[in-house]
């Protein structure tokens, strides 16, 4: 296999043309680069290769910065262990599936089950996300995962959500999703703009964001603005909107189900 890669001036950075590589090859190469001590990789012409970032577990917690040009395939950053991935384009389903820590930035839209079962780290999506985003996201101790979405989400957002924070900025239109937070029993979702009672699951409590919530929002939304400077957003303007908070009615949604 011929790998076309050009070293940049920085010794620990490398650029790779992924156009003729399959998933396993590409991920194997990334792993070799990580073990060889590279900290920055730019992937060009990515087209559908899956699980990018997944094979980068190392007991000593090496961390890489991976920049992707093109369209990565499903399960981008699944089980991610501390790495940072930036996609200059759209991503498919399963972004950050069960990720442990790190950061994924998508300068486009992301597909279904974005951030499913993630338990740490942050995901920033410039556009919209698909169905069942943030499904069964959870938190423990200091670990509190965060998803910030520029647009909105499809149905079943935050289903079974057990922890973590989801923020939808609603920059490009209203939130039309249904069944939001079905089975939710932990965590919080913040949606900019109104959400109707019939859009949320029966386990969800709707309220206005209070001051502590606004601090959380300020922190993560400024992170979002920093990552997408081209949107030229004004933090105060965004914060100064109607913010709906969705939280669980109980941490024991099925406590009364059994005889």
């Amino acid at each position: 296999m011929e790998i076309s890669c050009s070293r940049t001036s920085n010794e620990s950075a490398i650029e790779i043309d992924a156009s003729h590589m399959d998933t396993r090859e590409l991920n194997g190469l990334l792993r070799e680069l990580m073990l060889a001590g590279y900290e920055r990789v730019v992937l060009r012409n990515v087209c559908g290769q899956r699980y990018i970032g997944t094979r980068l577990y190392s007991p000593e917690r090496r961390v890489m910065n991976i920049e992707i040009h093109g369209t990565p395939g499903n399960d981008l950053g699944a089980f991610l262990f501390g790495h940072r991935i930036i996609v200059h384009g759209n991503a498919q389903d399963g972004v950050g599936n069960t990720m442990e820590s790190g950061e994924i930035v998508i300068a486009g839209r992301a597909g279904d089950v974005t951030g499913m079962s993630m338990r740490g780290g942050r995901i920033f999506v410039k556009g919209d996300v698909g169905y069942r985003a943030a499904l069964h996201m959870k938190e423990h101790g200091q670990k509190r995962p965060v998803i910030v979405v520029g647009g909105t989400a499809q149905d079943f957002l935050g289903e079974y959500m057990a922890g973590g924070i989801v923020i939808l900025l609603g920059l490009y239109g209203a939130h039309n999703a249904s069944f939001i937070g079905s089975g939710m029993h932990g965590g919080a979702m913040y949606l900019r703009g109104p959400v109707r009672e019939e859009q949320v699951g029966s386990h969800v409590h709707i309220s206005r964001a209070d001051e502590t919530d606004m601090e959380i929002l300020r922190d993560h939304i400024s992170g979002f603005i920093e990552r997408f400077p081209d949107l030229a957003l004004d933090l105060e303007h965004i914060l100064d909107s109607e913010w709906t908070k969705l939280s669980p009615r109980s941490s024991r949604p099925y406590g009364k189900l059994y005889a």
Partner: protein, 498 residues
């Protein structure tokens, strides 16, 4: 509301009771009370689970626990169980929970199959004198092996077992820390594997037991990260469980203690909810994706097991799973145990493991993909003869769960879901948990495996076979008795005498 359900058990003290109050201490359900004014032990039959703890620990041995002899008017349609279930549901409005595998009298096919022994035509083998191989390799077997220039070859990772028996998934949370540890110790001493279930593995256990652990990825994804998946010999994707096919599970908040919460990586006291499906698996193609993601995160160093419940069409499902890249297929029959399941599901959904093994093995052979995947059969394996029969029907190895719990002291009282297990197995109560001595329990498990292994060798020797490998799918060693034609056909065996 006063319960209208009759007590299930009657407690009697047949001889001289010393009022030592041992029974009062032993019973986790508060049955025995000391009546000081009359200097007498009183027992409330209605609370008794029939776990026999007090009977075993009564120093005088005078306590006896019998199924209650009082009865409703006998009625073939309305059995005692039907009547009482209705009463309980009328009292609570809830789904009835239970523990352990189904106790219903479905046909147990093991008991309708007889094993062969050679007589004159080929000699039987004495395992005490001659080597007898029980070592089993689980994983995808290559179609051909290409030797590299350095005379080594690439092959997929396999699990090596010294005996074809593994401990099936029992999570820390469902069972106690002590029981969990006993299984881990016994697996490492016996050269086999234990399975973490969906509850994660406490970090302090990882360096000690990683070579003997199968870690599970279930729909709740509890306690799972890249580090955990790499601290194991194999990774099992749990799709279904024989005791409750098609439904998820809820570990109730009461059982989510501090340490359980830390291991599952969720807040203390919240319900740990496992959704019914994996929400990233809605098809065989999606399953292929999770199998691959797990192989990626473990750098293709560990075999991936996919576990399903035995249900209708299991052979088609199995074929899909093998094509999705699973290295090992685990099938759990409808008599498989559980810490908690809705009774109606446990007793009505799924099929017996015997039929499933046979159907799956045949289908995979017909499709020419049997060697791509090993089969572990579980759910109702009660003795070494069941192991031999399972392997002769086409399994590579078996999972045991209930048998392992019984070895540690379980009496199948079916109250696991209450978290009050008197034997310290299915509980997170520190006082109850202490009752299970880890060293002693692991020794009992080691003993059980070694006893069964020896019996398996005797049976193999009797058949004139000296390696378990030669028994796999060797249905000619089995004959059916008292079975219908369709059952014999499905099992792929002839009737006794033929």
């Amino acid at each position: 509301m006063r319960s209208l359900v009759l007590p299930e058990f009657t407690i009697s003290r047949s001889g001289e009771c010393d009022r030592c109050r041992a029974c009062e201490y032993q019973c986790p359900f508060g049955v025995h009370i000391y009546d000081a004014s009359n200097d007498k032990m009183l027992s409330d039959n209605r609370r008794c689970a029939g776990c026999q703890r007090c009977a075993v620990f009564c120093p005088k041995g005078v306590i006896e626990i019998h199924p209650s002899s009082s009865f409703y008017r006998p009625n073939a349609s309305w059995s005692r169980e039907r009547i009482e279930d209705i009463k309980r549901q009328a009292e609570t409005g809830g789904v009835l929970l239970t523990g352990c595998g189904s106790d219903k009298p479905f046909r147990i096919y093991w008991d309708h199959m007889l094993i062969n022994a050679s007589q004159v035509t080929n000699p039987s083998i004495d395992p005490l004198r001659e080597p007898m191989e029980l070592r089993t390799f689980l994983g995808s077997k290559p179609e051909r092996i290409l030797l590299r220039e350095d005379m080594d070859a690439d092959a997929d990772p396999v699990l090596t077992l010294e005996t074809p028996i593994l401990f099936s998934a029992m999570s820390y949370g469902a069972i106690s820390y002590n029981a969990f540890q006993a299984l881990a110790i016994a697996a490492s001493r016996s050269g086999t594997f234990f399975n973490t279930g969906e509850g994660g593995m406490p970090p302090e256990m990882r360096p000690l037991f990683k070579k003997h652990a199968i870690v599970q990825v279930a729909s709740g994804r509890f306690g799972i990260d890249a580090e955990y998946l790499n601290c194991a010999a194999a990774v099992e994707i749990k799709i279904g469980q024989g005791a409750k096919p098609g439904i998820g599970g809820h570990l109730p908040g009461e059982k989510v203690s501090k340490h359980v919460a830390a291991t599952r990586m969720i807040p203390e006291g919240t319900d740990a909810i496992s959704p019914a499906p994996h929400h990233d698996i809605y098809s065989i193609e999606d399953l292929e994706m999770l199998v691959s993601a797990i192989k990626e995160v473990t750098n293709y160093e560990k075999p991936v097991i996919v576990k399903v419940a035995a249900v209708h069409n299991i052979s088609a499902i199995a074929s899909g799973i093998v094509r999705a890249g699973a290295d090992i297929l685990a099938i759990d029959g409808m008599r498989g145990g559980t810490g908690a399941a809705p009774k109606v599901i446990r007793d009505n959904v799924g099929i017996p493991i015997e039929l499933a093994i046979s159907a799956v093995d045949r289908r995979l052979r017909d499709e020419g993909i049997r060697e791509r995947c090993s089969i572990i059969a579980g759910g109702g394996i009660r003795c070494s003869a069941d192991v031999v029969k399972a392997i002769a029907l086409g399994a590579d190895a078996v999972y045991i769960g209930t048998a392992a719990l019984i070895a540690m002291g379980c009496t199948l009282c079916q109250r696991c879901y209450t978290g009050r297990c008197s034997w310290g197995i299915c509980t997170q109560d520190p006082g109850l948990m202490r009752r299970l001595n880890v060293e002693e329990a692991s020794q009992r498990l080691v003993n059980l495996l070694s006893a069964w292994s020896h019996e398996i060798k005797e049976m193999l020797g009797g058949m004139g076979i000296n390696a378990i490998e030669s028994l796999r799918g060797n249905r000619d060693q089995l004959r059916g008795i008292g079975l219908h034609e369709w059952e014999l056909d499905l099992l792929g065996i002839r009737g006794a005498g033929e």
